[in-house]
């Protein structure tokens, strides 16, 4: 039987509480992984492994967190993401909400794209496929 979005959210919450040592009530849909929940780069790897295990899915490198695109200097100009970079990133991250980042493509704020909701969207889509 397919998992509802709420069930996915609850399990994602458990993963983040364990991986990041945060409290249950800190993990809201809008919480950013790095800003609000204090995730560091090693935590991203840990989170991917835990999501794979929890949901029995395979997460190819860069599919959930496309760091190759994000770290590509060709897509950055004066600390801001170029149009081409933005298009490439949007195509790679249908699970993320680009509203804020499009208004202010400051590369320093790029990690704000990674919210709890981003993960829930990704997993829900993966399970439905």
């Amino acid at each position: 039987m397919a998992m509802s979005r709420d069930e996915v959210f609850e399990k994602v919450k458990d993963v983040l509480v364990d991986a990041l040592g945060v409290d249950d009530d800190e993990v809201s849909e809008g919480a950013t992984l790095t800003g609000d929940l204090g995730a560091e780069s090693i935590d991203f790897l840990d989170i991917v492994f835990r999501l794979e295990r929890t949901f029995s899915i395979k997460i190819p490198r860069g599919e959930l967190f496309p760091d190759d695109i994000m770290n590509n200097p060709e897509y950055v100009e004066n600390g801001r993401m170029t149009e081409k970079g933005m298009t490439t990133l949007k195509n790679a991250m249908p699970h993320a909400d680009f509203t804020d980042f499009e208004k202010d493509p400051d590369v320093a704020k790029m990690t704000d794209l990674f919210t709890v909701k981003t993960i829930v969207n990704y997993v829900t889509a993966k399970l439905a496929a």
Binding site: L20, G21, E40, I42
Partner: protein, 171 residues
Amino acid sequence: MKFILIDRIVSMDPGQGRIVARKQLSLAEEYLADHFPTFPVMPGVMMLEAMVQTSSWLVRATQGFSKSMIVLAEAKNVNYKSFVAPGGVLEVTSEAVQIDDTESDFKAVGRGADGGEIVKARLKLRHYNLTDLDASLAETDEKLVSVMKQRFELLGGPAAVQLAAVTAAGE
């Protein structure tokens, strides 16, 4: 090599539940010859030990050295972000979430000379006396506590507590 992973207690405020200690890494530390021969760096578990020892001193000072044995019960989310090389420093700041009679809980961070984070962890310690295991061990407890009190002085513990009291009074 002495298994003392901090060189100095920089400051300690039992009232606030906070302690800062420093470890300086020296090429003279034998284990570095194996970790690694061509790239000596402080092993991650030694950073963990430095954080455990720092936190333990806060427990001892807070509890008046009433427990002889303080050991790690659980470490969680120990993240390693960078290296400490010989000549470098690891400054550990540990904040007590709570300190009970037989257990305590800490958030610890280790930073380098430039203030950048090198390691962080959530630690749970367990404290007890050997007499809890067997009444005949009372003398062993006493001697151990005595050694720890001496070590506390060597590490600048009393001065560190004094410093915090003076700073607090001045605020």
